[in-house]
């Protein structure tokens, strides 16, 4: 193992790790927003919204995220959508992650016992009040862990933006593999950084999960 080389290039990997973290955070925010909207429309009273929600989930989960990124980044300019690679990465990955999160959030909401809703309505709460004061607080507890799985996948999915030349961890590793012919060393450095990020995300989710459980 070439430790001298690793010591020489590690600052570039650290810098790239920040980009990966930034990408992950922004993507997570957009993904959660899309997921909440998606779940709301899938559970809506209106058939059009339900259909749109279902189509969103089906199409974005049914095609590769890489292709979705390419459509946005390379195909966008053709219809007047000009984005730089980082923006395209965040938007593309965020919308993609949102499709998975839609199903997570929806799953948690529909798993709340129907009796809860009925009881709330019986004591005179409106439909909105029932949702915000009774159903969502309970569903939120159930969501934390599966959303954590979504987040874990999301961090790893940020590697895809290497294919549209965003200088994040995987792109950096790829570039140094190309220039140094030391794939193992470069994989080790990027891999360790990814595992640290994923570990921290996992701990954070576990902490939040403990906080919201009623024991």
């Amino acid at each position: 193992m070439d430790t001298d080389l690793m010591l020489k290039v590690y600052p570039f990997f650290l810098e790239a790790a920040w980009i990966t973290i930034l990408l992950s955070v922004l993507t997570a925010i957009l993904g959660l927003t899309c997921g909440a909207l998606g779940a709301a429309s899938r559970l809506s009273r209106f058939v059009v919204l339900r259909f749109l929600g279902a189509a969103y989930v089906s199409v974005f989960r049914g095609t590769p995220a890489l292709i979705q990124l390419f459509i946005l980044y390379f195909g966008g300019p053709q219809i007047g959508i000009q984005l730089d690679a980082f923006e395209a990465g965040v938007i593309g990955l965020g919308i993609n992650a949102g499709a998975y999160m839609t199903e997570t959030i929806r799953g948690a909401i529909i798993s709340i016992d129907k009796g809860q809703r009925e009881a709330a309505r019986t004591v005179g709460l409106s439909q909105w009040q029932t949702m915000y004061k009774v159903v969502l607080p309970q569903a939120a507890r159930l969501m934390v862990r599966p959303l954590g799985v979504n987040l874990n996948m999301l961090v790893k999915a940020t590697a895809l933006v290497a294919a549209i030349s965003v200088v994040e961890l995987t792109y950096t590793a790829q570039r140094y593999i190309g220039s140094t012919y030391k794939p193992f060393e470069m994989f080790l450095m990027a891999g360790v950084l990814y595992m640290i990020i994923i570990f921290v995300v996992g701990r954070g989710v576990a902490w939040l999960d403990r906080r919201v459980q009623i024991t």
């Binding site: 049914g62 590769p64 890489l66 292709i67 195909g75 219809i79 593999i177 794939p183």
Partner: protein, 218 residues
Amino acid sequence: MGLDFSIIPDHLDVILLGCLWTIGITVAAAILSFFGGIIFAVMALYAPWFVRLPFRVVEWVFMGTPLLLQLFLIYFGLVQIGIDLPAFVAGVIGLGLHFAVYNSELIQTAILAVDKGQMEAARTVGLSRGQALRKVVIPQAVRAVIPPIGNNMIALLKDSALVSVIGVSELTLSAQRVIGSTYRPLEFYLLAAAFYYVINLCMEWVQRKIERHIALSR
């Protein structure tokens, strides 16, 4: 520039060939990941600790890093140690191993969930431990995890797009090549997405059939 789908028929042959490669690489990697998953699961549960421990580390690394990075390691790493594999083979190995680790997680849980009495009964009638595992426990465990493994295989189809990056001429790279000569990214990426979507729907259909078949045979 706008959209113009009329140029698609001229290049459809290249895209369809890419489709075939995508299906080929998905099937090959799926088979590898299925049997690899069973072997990994048995190793993780029953191998002596000096095998189990390093194996756990490998599993952990595979689950904690992006597939794209793993593909770079396998493709360029094997070249570094003098094994010059065609990109297709490297892609199948990379995808197969990656999903074998995920399948192994599922199969491990399922093996542990098979009733203890099954193993004991098998041993009582004279089967060795290995035979009992192979003929009694694992078949039951695998049957229980077919639906979630199906989900992994559908994920594998979508992740097979990543091998375009190491130069396998599957659907994504075929689309890229056509775009290189036509400068029509939107049309051809949308076309590729449509093909992925159709293959994906077919896999979901097969998955439902298999699930129903298992449910009935119980």
